[in-house]
Subunit: 154 residues, 2 copies
DNA sequence: CGCAAAATGTAGCCATGGCATCACAATGGA
DNA sequence: TCCATTGTGATGCCATGGCTACATTTTGCG
């Protein structure tokens, strides 16, 4: 029996939790869930920016801004459509649904707040811009509120 | 001609950059590179913890702590070995190489610092622990130094 | 006009990281 | 001792997100 060699076997179990489990496994699971949203968030934010700035969001522009090939961008756009975040008319560019616009707005606000927070604690501008691109996706609403309070009081 | 409808076409090009490009595409590329290390980092950190705490790191324990099946853990361990970060004797547990131990130490320090920083700016303990699990991987050395300075001066 | 260039879309390949399932190994306890 | 239980490992499946290569559509320009 592989039953642990009779040595230090730590505490176990924990009932099946649906929300964000406070256990270590639960934290990893939540981090994986969050990560699976990251790509959609970046696309939504970028598409909203292109629509607001250039009036249109074309696959090629999206791809260039993200540093991927257009084929990769088009596949991601397919996923955005499947998830109800975007629509696209063949050869006519990409648009955001209501849900997509809401997501984009939330993501943009969060992105800016994360950069501001990093700058506020002394992170150089370049590093703040770079790191925020990855960090943002893992900042929960609770944490975001804390960031906002911190910045206001500063 | 798909040449942009004669409308607002923003600035283009940028020579091929190898390090972390300051362009938007460069930031996304760097974020993707960082993300590809995240799994290895979490495994290294966890294995080091199990070795220090229980004296051994078994695939089943690793899997339980990460919230994945043992098959998933074993495949990740295969990648750790391939990357020169771990070794494993069949049915005898997993060990870290020098490189693996160095990575684990760096990752643990960074994890703790990220949690401390979040707490310092007012993030509740639970949210700090949760969000840090994903954020940590995107915190560069530059940013980490800024966090350390901020905490020291506080 | 008509056509070449650019954008778009499609297909197929690969690596990663989940999963379930099955077969084999190890071992503690009856 | 032996065997039921548990750990380990190997496969095979799927989804995601990169890529290249090729086909198709669009449209500005000569
Ligand atoms: Mn991002
Ligand atoms: Mn962003
Ligand atoms: Mn982590
Ligand atoms: Mn960690």
């Amino acid at each position: 029996m592989p039953r642990p060699p009779a040595d230090a076997r730590a505490a176990r179990d924990a009932p099946p939790e649906m929300p964000a489990a406070p256990t270590q496994a639960g934290r990893f699971e939540q981090a994986r869930r969050v990560q699976s949203m990251a790509l959609l968030e970046d696309y939504a934010e970028l598409i909203a920016d292109l629509l607001a700035t250039a009036g249109e969001a074309r696959p090629t522009d999206i791809a260039r801004r993200l540093g991927v090939t257009h084929a990769t961008a088009i596949k991601a756009i397919t996923r955005l459509k499947r998830e109800g975040l975007a629509t696209a008319l063949p050869y006519r560019g990409v648009f955001l649904t209501e849900a997509g616009e809401h997501l984009a707005a939330r993501v943009k606000t969060r992105h800016l707040l994360v950069v501001d927070l990093l700058r506020a604690v002394g992170v150089p501008a370049d590093a703040a811009e770079q790191d925020a691109e990855g960090i943002e996706h893992h900042v929960s609403d609770i944490t975001l509120e804390a960031f906002a309070r911190f910045l206001k009081e500063k």
